[in-house]
């Protein structure tokens, strides 16, 4: 099953929905950044996330999900491009949404974003050797001051701008991906297709907006 075009789409849909769920968890945790306690709650949360064995196991699943989603996406993209070796001379304004036609491009953007994002935060929070200018340790349990890293990073205007732009890309990717996953899984029906589309739209707006609000928040804060 998994070797056919329909099977691969199922992989895309399942991993996609899994990542969608992850985003929600990720966002709700990160909302602690907004707590005006100098980052204590956020750092405690980050410490838990990087040390709990359960989370470590889930993390492997998460990375597997990302990798499968990425690899299948690339493979489908290639197959799809091969299916039309000669392009049309005239491109008419398509009836399909731009997002739906640009999932590869959007996915690529998100991939680049992920590399930056993981290197700057995930790596620093877990693997980098604590030293000045990288990350500091704030207590005996080894809790790292990730909050400070975030604060410093987003104080840089262009960096925050890149983040916000990538969140727009994510929003578009989710806007199509969410409902597309349901369609691929056959979970589309005249009765509730509209509901799925609406939830997808809401999700695609709220989640990336939530993420984007963080760089904006810290950038504005740095101006004061």
């Amino acid at each position: 099953m998994l070797s056919s075009s329909l099977g691969r789409k199922v992989v895309m849909a399942l991993t996609g929905l899994f990542l969608v769920m992850f985003l929600l968890v990720h966002l709700s945790g990160n909302l602690l950044l907004f707590k005006e306690d100098g980052g204590a709650a956020f750092n405690a949360y980050a410490h838990f996330m990087s040390t709990s064995p359960i989370i470590r196991v889930l993390e492997i699943g998460l990375f597997a999900g990302i990798i499968f989603h990425f690899l299948e996406g690339v493979s489908l993209l290639r197959k799809n491009q091969q299916a039309r070796p000669t392009r049309y001379a005239v491109k008419s304004p398509s009836s399909a949404t731009w997002a739906s036609r640009s999932m590869g491009l959007l996915g690529g953007t998100i991939t680049i974003f992920l590399v930056i994002h993981l290197a700057d935060f995930f790596y620093k929070s877990k693997f980098a050797t604590p030293e000045p200018g990288v990350i500091s340790v704030i207590d005996a349990e080894g809790t790292r001051d990730l909050y400070a890293v975030v604060r410093e990073a987003f104080a840089v205007g262009w960096y925050s701008a890149v983040y916000v732009a990538c969140m727009v890309g994510l929003a578009l990717h989710l806007f199509h991906g969410f409902q597309s996953a349901f369609q691929t899984l056959g979970l589309s029906h005249r009765g509730y297709a509209l509901l799925v589309r609406r939830i997808g739209l809401l999700y695609a707006i709220v989640v990336p907006l939530g993420f984007a609000s963080m760089p904006v928040y810290f950038f504005l804060k740095s101006l004061n």
Binding site: M1, S4, S5, L6, G7, R8, K9, V10, L76, K79, N80, Q81, Q82, A83, R84, P85, T86, R87, Y88, A89, V90, K91, S92, S94, S95, A96, T97, S100, R101, M103, H176, Q179, S180, Q183, T184, L185, G186, L187, S188, H189, R190, A193
Partner: protein, 253 residues
């Protein structure tokens, strides 16, 4: 039926045969009646080309009633042109005097160009051969009313069965995917009790053939359904997905 005439510039894909590289050729065509169909406009061009000793433009067409599915051209970037329906049902009143119209063949690896605007769609026949049927020999049928079919099911089956196999879905899809075509046949037979006996084998074989022919995968953009002259809906693709997953899980294939 108020008639007027148009002067047009046509940019048409000309390709002598499957191995020729092909190129666009520009023609001026004057005095086209707004009441004539798009294909009649091409007839007029061809008459003039023949009179000038040139080879006329080859294009597929037959019934000219919007049902045989033969006509297949991309007009100004849209399969079958700017209106919903087949090319043969497109009338020149949809255009304006002085318009430039670009006409290309369906573009897909699985629909190779034979000549000019004519493409080879036999891949569709092979997909149907793979399983788009109910295996019932002539004479083996019971009385027709022994199989009651709820009207909504029959109507839904009909909506899918209305597919004319023109290939506009493939032409419109950015991936040249044949999902809507395959979905229409799978959905049609899956909705009816007659088709349920072979539902697993059917969907698995048809999808395998679709992949083998080199069509792209479905990105759920919906462009196929938007260009389908027979309004085949995306819910049939969802049903195809369901049928496929169900069949895969049940048979382990």
């Amino acid at each position: 039926m108020s008639e007027s005439t148009l002067n047009l510039t046509l940019k048409i894909w000309r390709q002598k045969n499957a191995t020729d590289a092909g190129a666009f050729v520009t023609y001026k065509l004057d005095g086209v009646s707004t009441d004539s169909s798009f294909l009649e406009m091409l007839d007029l061009l061809n008459l003039q080309l023949i009179e000038q000793g040139e080879v006329p433009v080859a294009f597929d067409h037959d019934c000219r009633e919007g049902i045989c599915g033969a006509c297949s051209m991309v007009i100004n970037g849209r399969p079958h042109g700017p209106e919903r329906g087949t090319t043969c049902q497109l009338h020149m009143r949809a255009f304006r005097n002085g318009d430039t119209i670009v006409i290309e063949p369906w573009r897909a690896k699985s629909f190779p160009v034979i000549k000019d605007l004519v493409v080879n769609r036999s891949s569709f026949d092979r997909i149907i051969s793979a399983g788009g049927f109910v295996s019932v020999n002539t004479g083996a049928a019971q009385d027709a009313n022994c199989i009651p079919v709820p009207k909504p099911d029959a109507d839904e089956a009909f909506d899918a069965a209305a597919c004319i196999g023109c290939g506009a879905c493939v032409a419109a899809c950015k991936n040249a995917s044949a999902m809507l075509f395959v979905a229409a046949k799978v959905s049609h037979l899956a909705m009816l009790p007659q088709g349920r006996v072979e539902r697993e084998a059917r969907v698995l074989k048809m999808v395998a053939q679709m992949d083998e022919e080199g069509f792209g995968a479905c990105s759920n953009t919906g462009a196929c359904s938007a260009e389908c002259p027979k309004n085949i809906g995306l819910q049939h693709i969802a049903r195809l997905n369901r049928e496929y997953q169900r069949a895969s899980l049940l048979t382990g294939k």
